[in-house]
Amino acid sequence: MTSYPNNHKQRTEVLYGAQNVLTKLSKFFLESKIINVCGTDKALLLAFEMQDYKNLLKILKEKNAKIKYLTNITKDNLPLCKKILNHVDEMRHLDGILTNFSVSESEYLATSSLLNMQQPQPINQLICSNVDEIVEQQKSVFESLWNNSASAEQRIKELEDFYNIGRTEIIYNPSITKEILINLIKRSKSEVLLLLPTINAFLREYRIGVLNYLKDAAETRNLNVKILTPTNDEINTIIQKIQSNDLKNFIIYPFEVASQIKINTITIIIVDEKDSLVIEKTDDSKENFEDAIGLSIFSSSKPTVMSYVSIFESLINQINLYEQLKVQGKMQEEFINIASHELRTPIQAIIAYSDLIDNHPDEKGEMIDAIKRNATALQRLAEDILVVTKIESKTLVLHKEKTNLNELIIETIDDYKNNIQQNHNHDIKFKLQYLHANKKSYIVDADYQRILQVISNLLDNAFKFTKDLKENGEIYITIEEKKQETGQQYIIVNIRDNGKGIDSDIMPRLFTKFATKSNKGTGLGLYICKSIIEAHDGKIWAENNKEGKGATFSFSLPFLN
């Protein structure tokens, strides 16, 4: 199909075959100084999806040709258009472009093989012409199209705004609401937030399979699911059943009436922070989903959806705070109970022996010892409660001075052994040994009395747990130096016993207030130790011994060289 050229070099022809077309296109891009392209989104797709055409884009970039690109920018090809913006000098938008052609200063190319293309595949038919009249004619076609087009930047902004504004719709038909609800959940990509207002709402959603579907999606495609719901025994049983796998991305937040959450007439579902569906409930007594609901409001409008997201998050915060308060209240109650038990016990002994002492002159000495012992226990508890109060009100004052830990440990052990013999009427036999009682000085900047209190407390604990072993009870203290990566040197004191070890369920809260498993003691000792050591810029920790029975408590203090 050759035209009649004005001279022998000018001709119009049709090229067939993908390779021929590609060679021609490369040549065209390499040789042209001005390139005007009018293309559909299928041309765009080729340019970014097929390797050979990607290479053409490269050529364009390296060459200094001036490129104008005219296309129909739509919501669907928006990302591609934004990409091509980086490769061309100027780009504009024209509604409804269906042709694909390029025209340079001296050549015209066009193809129709893109029109019916479904999947990206190479162009295998190309009309080429370097006939002056044709080129000129096509240039002016391009010019007039170009002049009637709109700025690409403007068009892109409009599309993005439109997309963000989204739409809001009222749905009156409950069946359609149900369909939308299920579709929303099925289409969800990353997150579903669901607020259920009543027990019956939970049951209805459960019956239509929403909860099970969400759980499966959380399991199989990692969907994040958060559900807020009131609960009763029946709901709790269902929750236990569907939460059995302990999924971290499928969380049900039960809320109590006491938590003051009063949303009880609407179900809210928010999907991927993009779409929301608010369903009005008109008759909560109905079992059937469609019978119970009235109208619903769907929205993909960003401000609306994000408001629901933030309402949802506030409710979760409120539930968490309420739970924290409850825990704190329980801890406080527990403390009052423990503290009152510990206070009344020595008082009971003191009162009883005071009553008895006059009538038992022979046992007077022993009774006075018992009174002293219990008075001391009372004093220690009062001290502990006072220290905790100071720690909590941040008024604990440390009198730091250069202290030799070595001497301090030796003194503490002596004191401790004396106290034990005094305080326990019966013979106490156990091994308490300091394994590094050498002459070396371990100087730290510390409050002597407070560190002594820490070591005594730790010894007390070790003793409590080895007491049952009688003469087989062993407590060893060791001391070591350690250099941190930062260069700071620390002294570490370890107190190791062979008792029954630390219960695994108390381990995580070992150093918190009121943690006690011994049924004796206030649960304040280790909390006080931790506070004192941390006030010295040190650390305290504990672990069960890897070899053999028992536990080792350790603390570190910065070494003063």
């Binding site: 109970n337 038990h341 510990e342 009344r344 016990t345 008082i347 009971q348 002994a349 009553d355 038992h360």
Partner: protein, 137 residues
Amino acid sequence: MSSIIKNEKTINHKNKRILIVDDEPDIALAFKIGLEDNGFIVDVFNDAQVALINFRKGKYDLLLLDIKMPKLNGMEFFLKMKEIDDKVKVCFITASETYFYENLIKKIFNLLSTRSLFRKPIKLKELISALNKEFNC
């Protein structure tokens, strides 16, 4: 003070046998001495498990049980003991806040003829007169 106590004892309840289970040796001993001064015959255990092993039907007229104890608390001890001897009188004594145990106590008091729950600290005089009242019931 002690004369009043002695009067009650001589009049009412000489030789009644009492078992004290309390994990605090000082308190258990003081109660034992105080009760013995008033004519009761008293055994003491500081470990509820050991007390249970040694418990025999009909050996005691009254049990005085501490509640908060390691291993086996007073309530648990009571429930196990009841299988051996369901006639013996039982009193509880505790230094804890009683609301902590209220539900348990209510449950247990349904099983008991007595309604005695004493709170530490208690004066020996008061304890003894309370026990005497138990025997008068």
